[in-house]
């Protein structure tokens, strides 16, 4: 029966081949138009960062630079050499790295354990608890800044990277739990049941059975958290100060600076530098991202 169907299917495929060629062209055209829509801003940013200010003022937005002018990249990274109030990205880049690593790791681990507990060890009211987590993703962050800083002040970690890590872990938890729960819910309960009959406990099952098959969703969670935390400006600007500020605050200071002549090439170079780590993650790990999503995270 199946073989018969396969034959029939191949015939069908063949018959529609000519029609397909036309379709393919239309298809490629649509995909290309969208690709242009998505790529245009990045293209503009990159070419602008290599132009001189004179070229930017006179020239065309999409024109290629006359030659590769690297000065703006240097200025964006190292600053202009003022001793005070200078804006550059160098040190802040590493601040962000210091903050993002622990925050991503902790929130991902907690999310995985929560997701596992909520799906494989179901208890009364677990759906409601999950709903509470889910709803937490909708809180407008501006409204929690003041009570948050009071709490941080009370805990004595106001104004430290540690406090910032805590904030990111807390508000990331809602997402990591959501992702991991949706992944684990699609994994057969039988494995866990079998292991429980064999006498394995909560953590043993988690580390020995669940974690090894969680790679796809952990990739998704880590990418999401990394992007969110790296790109955060609001918490960074509110809960840290001076030299400890994360990169988006430095970028903001650079791009939104209120005086002096605007140097668009430096702005664009800085923007690309600040977006570089996340861009790389998406380009290199994009494949695993889709794979991870496919593996079940999006199944409700």
């Amino acid at each position: 029966m199946i073989e018969n169907n396969n034959q029939k299917y191949q015939q069908l495929e063949k018959a529609s081949k000519t029609k397909n060629t036309i379709y393919r062209w239309i298809l490629f055209l649509i995909l290309a138009v969208f690709a242009a829509y998505y790529i245009a801003p990045l293209y503009v940013m990159i070419v602008t960062s290599f132009k001189t200010m004179a070229e930017i003022r006179q020239g065309n937005l999409f024109a290629l630079p006359n030659d590769l002018n690297l000065e703006s990249w240097y200025v964006a990274w190292n600053g202009q050499g003022f001793a005070a109030g200078d804006v550059f990205l160098k040190t802040y880049f590493w601040n962000s790295a210091k903050m993002v690593l622990p925050a991503v790791i902790i929130s991902t681990i907690m999310g995985a354990i929560n997701g596992y507990a909520l799906t494989k060890w179901r208890f009364k009211g677990d759906s409601y608890i999950f709903l509470l987590f889910l709803f937490g993703t909708f809180i407008p962050y501006q409204s929690i800044l003041l009570p948050m800083s009071r709490t941080l002040g009370f805990m004595g970690i106001s104004n430290s990277i540690f406090g910032l890590i805590l904030v990111h872990v807390i508000y990331g938890l809602c997402f990591t739990t959501l992702f991991c729960r949706n992944y684990y819910v699609s994994i057969s309960d039988e494995i866990v049941k079998a292991a429980r009959i064999d006498g394995a406990g909560f953590f043993k099952i988690f580390f020995k059975i669940m974690l090894p098959i969680s790679a796809p969703i952990l990739v998704v969670t880590v990418i999401w958290q990394f992007t969110q935390i790296w790109n955060d400006f609001l918490f960074g600007a509110t809960f840290t100060f001076g030299k400890e500020a994360p990169i988006q605050v430095a970028l903001n200071n650079m791009v939104l600076t209120s005086s002096s002549v605007k140097r668009y090439n430096v702005d664009m170079a800085a923007a690309i530098i600040a977006g570089f780590p996340t861009l790389i993650v998406y380009v290199l790990a994009g494949k695993y991202f889709i794979r991870g999503l496919t593996a079940g995270s999006v199944k409700g």
């Binding site: 109030g85 650079m254 209120s258 002096s260």
Partner: protein, 416 residues
Amino acid sequence: MKKIIAIFAMVLAPTFSYAGSSAEVLHWWTSGGEAKALKVLKDDFAAKGGAWTDMPVAGGGGDAAMQTLKARIVANDAPAAAQIKGPTIQAYDREGVVAPYNIDAVAKAEGWDKLLSKQVASHMKCDDGKAYCAAPVNIHRIDWFWANKKVLDSNGIKMPKSWDEFNAAADKLQAKGIIPLAHGSQPWQDATVFEAVALGIGGNDFYRKAFVEADAATLGGPVMVKIFDQMRKLKNYTDPGSPGRDWNVATAMVMEGKAGFQIMGDWAKGEFAAAGLNPDVDYYCGTTPSDNGYLYNVDSFIFFKVEGQDKVEGQKLLASLMMGQDFQKVFNIYKGSIPARLDVPMDDFDICAKKSNKDLNTAAKKGGLLPSFAHGMTLELGVKGAIQDVVTEHFNSDMSSQDAVTKLSAAVMAAS
């Protein structure tokens, strides 16, 4: 794993500094002349053995910085000094986060009452004017015209002495295909232009009634309609790309001769200076038409209540340095403003600054020395914001002047 532990250690290691005095300074001066000026202060501070921590948060005229500041205060961890001005200084005092006025002793010892004009000093005092709690660094003037000399000269235009003259000049430029008014239509820039127009058309007493006393009858009166009429004219003198444009981009349009005039505070001068241009050679600075009016904007730093002797010492040192003669001179040459301190020699300043200084004294005598509302020197922030909303909404739509006036008085009623 070791690496992760190392990173944790790096993150968690507290940073101690054992200097005798320390200060954390929150500001939004991040580049160009401001940064250079700030370096002077920082170096002075370090030379006296202090440990300086910079907290620059740029953007939106301090919007982002306000988030940081409020978060810090609510966490009981206020910075030593923050760039706060106008009635907001006294508002913070009423919230009880400024007393016991650590810098008052310094101010009294150095005789700030004699070094500052009464008007400026009154902005710096808390506790019903009994104690100094803030230090002024400059006086900006708002009501300026900045004009491209070549454009004006070649079209036979003189710096306008009345708003009618300005309109005539603008019509002439527009006919030649030159943008008459370089403007970035952001709410604060619209309000900046608006207050200059209000001062000119309404006069000094009108301005005081409307924007210092928030008098409902004045805000809803017929003079206000005329002011909005002039705003509509000005809107038609701007180019289509104006909404959202940064002020310094607008200044660049004047420099390049794409536009004739700009109405902006004297920080615009810093842009001309940075481009190597000189007043009366490359550009004109003139005041917008008014009856000896002078809209001032005093940048100042408030000194909050802080814990720890080193921080208190840091505040005292900082306040003293900010009021230093030398600092006030160097800082203001970079910044485009004039010193807040009265006894700073003006010899090294340019002609625009000298004019500003002279006009200030005249205006003070004739009752035209008035606080800028657009820059938060008068009115509660909520009321100021409500006025600004109406001004910018009118400027960026086809709302009639009468509607704008009606909205204005309603908005101010609701906000106060």
